[in-house]
């Protein structure tokens, strides 16, 4: 068990270092950064001043090691656009993205678990097909479009929720619903197939033979086993949701990390772009590590592995 965690942790660190390198190279893709920062109206002299001021005149490897060295201790440098350090900016925006992610995941689980169980218990009936159709439609609807539709219906026509901004808890409801929709199809399918498998297993037959009540069989025995993959995948999904919240944050003008990333891309604020890519990746790595540990803890069969 400890060996497994240690190996996963080592892998995670290695992956994080690779992503760090990729994030650095990514921002150099545009060719000459000094030209992009100085803007279209800049003269050659302006560009040279920018190049010196931002340390872009140093060799690429010097820039790289300077950046990674400081990034390791949480110093991502200064933003070019906001008069603030990148670390500060991200720290300020992170709670919003995490709140959105948690709201989205909770909503997704509240919908997926009952739907998946229902579909599994009524396998191959019209209820099951209806649930499947629902997950497929959910997968097909573009999240930014769903966001706009919700704005029209819930925001304008019914007037029950604010359309954009961050002020109150109500501001997180619509983005949360949209984000939940990105996870509901996968989680519902997983619950359904896990539940079908569990209900067909030997221990359920034993439980039935012992004369246990149906409710007890379903919730005490089958669900416990069906939930193992759902819990671990939910952690992985949260990682994806944090990374994917950029579109939703932008539509709803929620000033989280994703929105920060989008703003910074538009403004060539590349220290921020690098840092946001890295931070989102580290979250994903941490959450998948958590998923693996949870999986091992919840499933005794894996503990010795």
């Amino acid at each position: 068990m400890l060996r497994l965690i240690a190996r996963r942790l080592a892998l995670g660190v290695l992956v994080a270092l690779t992503v760090m390198t990729l994030a650095f190279l990514l921002t150099r893709l545009s060719g000459d950064l000094a030209v992009s920062i100085a803007g279209p109206q800049a003269t050659q002299a302006d560009v040279e001043i920018v190049r010196k001021a931002y340390g872009l005149d140093r060799p690429l490897y010097v820039q790289f090691f300077a950046w990674t060295g400081r990034a390791m201790v949480g110093d991502f440098g200064q933003s070019y656009f906001f008069k603030d350090s990148v670390a500060n900016l991200i720290q300020k925006r992170l709670p919003i993205t995490i709140t959105l992610g948690l709201v989205g995941l909770s909503l997704a689980l509240i919908v997926s678990l009952p739907l998946g169980i229902l579909a599994a218990l009524r396998e191959n009936t019209w209820i099951d097909r209806g649930v499947t159709l629902f997950t497929m439609v959910g997968q097909a609807v573009p999240s930014f479009w769903l966001a706009l539709i919700l704005m029209i219906v819930l925001g304008l026509q019914l007037g029950i929720l604010p359309i954009s901004g961050t002020g109150t808890w109500q501001h997180f409801v619509m983005p949360g619903i949209v984000l939940a929709f990105t996870a509901i199809p996968a989680l519902t399918r997983l619950t359904r197939s896990g539940m079908i498998e569990a209900m067909a297993s030997d221990y359920i037959r034993t439980a039935r033979a012992k004369g246990l009540s149906r409710a007890r069989i379903i919730f005490k025995h089958a669900l416990r086993n069906a939930a193992i993959p759902v819990v671990s995948i939910a952690a992985v999904q949260l990682g994806f949701m944090l990374g994917g919240s950029i579109v939703i944050e932008t539509v709803f003008a929620l000033h989280g990390v994703g929105y920060l990333g989008w703003e910074s891309i538009a403004k060539n604020d590349f220290p921020v772009v690098q840092a946001v890519v890295l931070v989102l990746a580290v979250f994903y790595i941490g959450l998948t590590l958590l998923a693996d540990i949870l999986n091992a803890l919840l499933d005794p069969r894996l503990r010795t592995g």
């Binding site: 992956v15 997968q139 990746a281 998948t288």
Partner: protein, 293 residues
């Protein structure tokens, strides 16, 4: 040691079989055929030009609403361009991006997955590492950054998405290759003196192709949705090209008074993606049925 959860391939036994059934498969095929027809001959059938502006005829509603114009079946956009003409032109962009991305990502992912699954050991460790790294990269953000830094364009969007969406191909190719490599016909090919490339391409690949076809439908749907999202955020297909995502972005400012400007391209996107997913589901069921025999 078990593999990280994030990269476990779905086990064939746990892939739940037929729920929507053959009717869904047929509907999916029909939808794709319709969109394909629109993409190929649509702009030849629709008399209007998708790029011609007519500022006197802005934001005309579609035919089922009051105040519609006879010449514009689906109305016009904020610049008076015919919406039907733009919609069928947009089908071309979505399909092109979907197909090209799947070809690119399929090549990358399948190569990595087959090599890892076939050789195992160090090679497989490297492939697993590549997949894990790729999964931890936030796709939308990185795609936005690449397009934002290098300038927008159809080719760049395809290249970016192709380089980002190969993970599921790799995961499935790797898992299925592992199952296939120990079969008798592979040993037979070895004994017959077949070369390594021959075994990989002629023996392994055809036997995992059906699984890869299912992945291809999933990735095509994902690529189409991602392109729409990138274009919606203004960093994908450049205007005036009528990408469906871009049409939604352009209609966004008018959606409270003229909701059809976002309804029409949005429904088109959802229906196309649903069609592709239905076909994928149908293929998966065919595979499942094959396994039971």
């Amino acid at each position: 040691m078990s593999e990280p959860i994030a990269i476990q391939a779905p086990q064939p036994s746990t892939i739940a079989t037929s729920r929507i059934g053959t009717a869904g498969f047929a509907i999916g095929i029909a939808i794709i055929a319709l969109v394909l027809a629109a993409a190929l001959i649509g702009n030849w059938l629709v008399p209007q030009d998708p790029f011609t502006q007519d500022l006197g005829n802005r934001l005309k509603p579609p035919f089922w609403m009051e105040g519609s114009e006879a010449g514009h079946l689906l109305g016009t956009d904020q610049l008076g361009r015919d919406y039907l003409a733009r919609l069928v032109y947009g089908a071309r962009i979505s399909l092109l991006i979907g197909i090209m991305t799947v070809i690119t990502s399929g090549l990358i992912g399948t190569t990595l997955g087959v090599l890892g699954g076939f050789f195992g050991g160090r090679v497989d460790d490297l492939v697993l590492f590549a997949i894990t790294t790729r999964l931890s990269i936030p796709v939308v953000l990185v795609a936005l950054a690449v397009v934002g830094l290098m300038g927008s364009g159809l080719g760049l969007v395809v290249a970016t998405l192709g380089l980002l969406l190969w993970d599921r191909f790799a995961v499935v190719a790797r898992a299925t290759t592992m199952q296939v490599r120990n079969h008798d016909y592979v040993s037979a090919a070895w004994c017959a003196g077949a070369s390594m490339p021959h075994i990989l391409i002629k023996e392994i690949l055809p036997n995992i192709a059906s699984h890869l076809a299912v992945v291809a439908t999933l990735e095509m749907a994902l690529a189409i949705l991602l392109e729409a999202a990138l274009s919606f955020l203004g960093l994908g297909v450049p205007p005036p090209l009528p990408s469906w995502g871009l049409m939604i972005a352009e209609g966004k400012d008018y959606m409270f008074f003229s909701p059809w400007v976002i309804m029409i391209p949005g429904v088109a996107l959802a229906v196309l993606v649903l069609g592709i997913n239905l076909v994928g589901d149908g293929l998966r069921n065919l595979l499942g049925a094959e396994r039971l025999r």
